[in-house]
């Protein structure tokens, strides 16, 4: 962020007082207007494997930089004006998170299409079937989506899927303000932490998804506990906690131990209010449990850490939460657990698998994609390292409140429990982000002198622009594998018209806008899941073997009704993420055509659909 010195004068103009406010409003709105007029120049079809940033015109990048610097100047004025900071944050959320909705033809991200399909199933059938897949064992979010879609008179949840990231990120703003406000009265720290959160939330879990909604519940629960149920001084706690037996440095023991009477925060509210607030927290958690597999455990980890370290006065809450989760898992997810329990138990404590799935396997694919992944890892390491420095500095300056440190550490427990399909590190990043953002903010602005030298000013300005650049590449670096075209959607709609219910639909890779309708009426297969593709040699899949596997899968479809669909986004996905070499899906298409075993039934907009000829692929 820029410095107070810069805030006071920019080109000889004061940025304090009403004139300064007017200048900053003009900068923010002007930058947003410039961003808006450059939108038509963004052509996702020309995107490279570096993602959206590769097709952003220079004027758009300048607009984003000016808006970010204007936010920095706003936060370094002598007195931070909340409405001005709020204006900047709202504009930043719109321009950073709303960009795909405005430049792409149809909703992005294949999983959002699938989620819309599950909501559609519930709306049509009025029930869930746990045997279809895991989603139906945690259907809370989809039930809510089905209810909202029908009550709002919409045809599909895809009608609002585009704007989900903007909606969810604006939703997070309220609890974030409460969370930061619970531990500091310094407005500059609060709003800087908010800025770091939004410039650091490149994880992309805010699409139309259960995790996006339940993350809001997580933030609200944490906010309530921090504000209304803070630490209670307890001189007996060290003996009961047996912290002295742990091989921890004295300072760390003291920090994690029970609060002294001087560091304890006075609880707010009457007993009636506090009872009602506990009930509200339980209701929020109860709605989270059937909605998402992971979030309830992240909540329990955070609340449990606070309770164990005597930093939260609602000591029975983790037990209540544990009972709710256990009851749901034991009684309502039987269909899923019966087939997956053994695998899940095997994965507990398997750190090697977690490391492989979360880091190593993500480094494959095109050179640009590997660069994006490395940048993400670098950004993560940098933010976490700076957060540790911030926490230590805060501690040296007399900060006794260890609650944020506990909340930042708690999610890491989950890394040892589950690789979560290679996504656990990403999820941990998201759940620690608010606290990391806070420590970074304290490092940047807390206790700093009113007036900084030009070097510090330049360094802080460069840091905010670095965060912005990192966000653009880290968040939208995989955009080629997330974007779809209207022509592809037309091809998928045509597929559902051509293929009678009960057919097997086969795609080259998982990346296409399907499953948004008739979720349960078709069988879905992927070429990339075939044994010959999964166990390919380093040179790439052997197409004759792949063709053999493919025809076998399609031949075994009920009534022989099987259709193969290939689209541009599938090719982009394979080329971007691997593990097959670039062009593998194109080679498969050529092999399919050359085999003469398939009848083409549709072609258009880079998409093709084939049906297996009767009698083809029979084993002799």
């Amino acid at each position: 962020m820029a410095s107070p010195a810069a805030a006071r004068t920019a080109g000889g103009l004061s940025l304090e007082g009403r004139a300064g406010t007017a200048i900053l409003v003009a900068l923010a709105t002007g930058a947003t207007a410039l961003w808006a007029v450059t939108l038509p120049a963004v052509d996702p079809a020309r995107m490279t494997d570096l993602g959206l940033v590769s097709v952003m015109p220079a004027r758009m990048l300048v607009a984003l930089a000016v808006l970010t610097l204007s936010l920095g100047l706003t936060l370094t004025r002598r007195r931070v004006t909340p409405w001005l900071a709020l204006l900047h944050i709202v504009l930043i959320v719109i321009v950073l998170y709303g960009l795909p909705a405005l430049v792409e033809e149809v909703p992005r991200h294949r999983v959002a299409w699938r989620h819309a399909g599950i909501a559609d199933y519930i709306a049509r059938n009025g029930r869930v079937d746990g045997t279809i897949d895991a989603y139906f064992n945690w259907p809370g979010f989809f039930v809510l989506t089905a209810f909202l879609t029908e009550t709002m008179g919409l045809r599909s949840a895809l009608s609002f899927a585009d704007w989900a990231p903007v909606f969810f990120n604006l939703l997070y703003l309220g609890p974030l303000l409460l969370i930061f406000g619970a531990v500091t009265r310094d407005r500059r720290v609060v709003w800087t932490a908010i800025a770091v959160f939004y410039l650091g939330n490149w994880i992309g879990q805010d699409y139309l998804s259960p995790q996006a909604l339940t993350y809001f519940a997580f933030l609200v629960i944490v906010a309530v506990l921090l504000r209304w149920f803070p630490a209670v001084p307890d001189p007996e706690a060290p003996r009961r906690l047996r912290l002295n037996r742990l091989a921890l440095p004295v300072r760390v023991r003291a920090w994690l131990g029970p609060p002294s009477t001087t560091s304890a925060v006075r609880p707010e509210g009457s007993s009636r209010q506090r009872v009602a607030l506990v009930l509200i927290v339980v209701a929020l958690f109860a709605a989270t449990v059937p909605s998402h597999q992971l979030t309830p455990f992240m909540v329990i980890a955070g609340v449990g850490a606070l309770v164990v370290a005597r930093r939260c006065s609602t000591r029975s809450l983790p037990v209540v939460m544990g009972v709710l989760v256990s009851a749901w898992v034991a009684f309502m997810t039987v269909a899923y657990l019966s087939g997956h329990l053994e695998t899940m138990l095997d994965e507990i404590g398997d750190v090697e698998t977690a490391a492989t799935e979360n880091v190593s396997e993500r480094l494959q694919g095109s050179a640009e994609h590997a660069l994006v992944v490395r940048l993400r890892l670098l950004l993560t390491a940098a933010l976490w390292s700076l957060a540790v420095l911030g926490a230590l500095r805060l501690r040296r300056r007399g900060g006794h409140d260890s609650r944020f440190a506990l909340l930042a550490l708690a999610p890491f427990v989950m890394l040892a429990v589950q690789p979560y399909g290679g996504e656990m590190l990403l999820r941990v990043y998201l759940f620690v982000l608010p606290f990391v953002a806070f420590f970074l903010a304290t490092l940047a602005v807390e206790g700093r002198p009113q007036s900084l030298g030009w070097r510090s000013t330049a360094a802080l300005g460069a840091a905010s622009l670095t965060l912005l650049a990192g966000f653009l590449i880290a968040r939208y670096g995989n955009e080629r594998s997330d974007v779809f075209t209207a022509a592809e959607v037309t091809a998928v709609e045509r597929l559902y018209e051509i293929a009678p219910p009960g057919s097997t639909l086969v795609a080259g890779s998982r990346n296409l806008p399907w499953r948004a309708q008739d979720y349960e009426r078709y069988e879905y297969e992927l070429v990339s899941d075939l044994p010959s593709w999964e166990n390919m040699p380093p040179t790439g899949p052997r197409m004759r073997e792949v063709l053999s596997d493919l025809t076998e899968v399609m031949r075994e479809a009920p009534g022989g009704r099987a259709y193969l669909i290939t689209t541009q986004s599938q090719r982009a996905y394979v080329n971007l993420l691997g593990p097959a070499p670039r062009g593998s899906l194109d080679r498969l298409e050529q092999t399919v055509v050359a085999s003469g075993a398939f009848t083409p039934v549709y072609s258009g907009g880079g998409a093709r659909i084939w049906r297996l000829k009767r009698g083809s692929g029979k084993k002799r």
Partner: protein, 119 residues
Amino acid sequence: MTDRSRIPPIAVLAGAALAALVVWGNVAPALRGPVVLAFLLVGPGMALVHPLRLRDRLAELCLAVALSIALDTLFASAFLYARGWSPDGILAALIAVAVLAAGSDLLAGASLRRRPEPT
């Protein structure tokens, strides 16, 4: 209850009436989405959170939105698992909760105002 603190329950009652009108009265079909979404995002939760008198508008609004979403999810799930899926029925139940809670809040506020000042 001050005049200003009567605004949230009155807004909840108005929101409930509007939601009922656009869904069942077919009034202003173009506004159906925004009106229903606004009510379901804020209404049921605000009706229950406002009587707590938290004296912090941001906290009240955050809790109202979070609780509304939780109630929407729990009510919809309850209808589903009770094999009685009916979006109209779920909306009616949420409107009933909001109207009862906001109405009680208003009545409790009115009775407080009528109570004589201690001498």
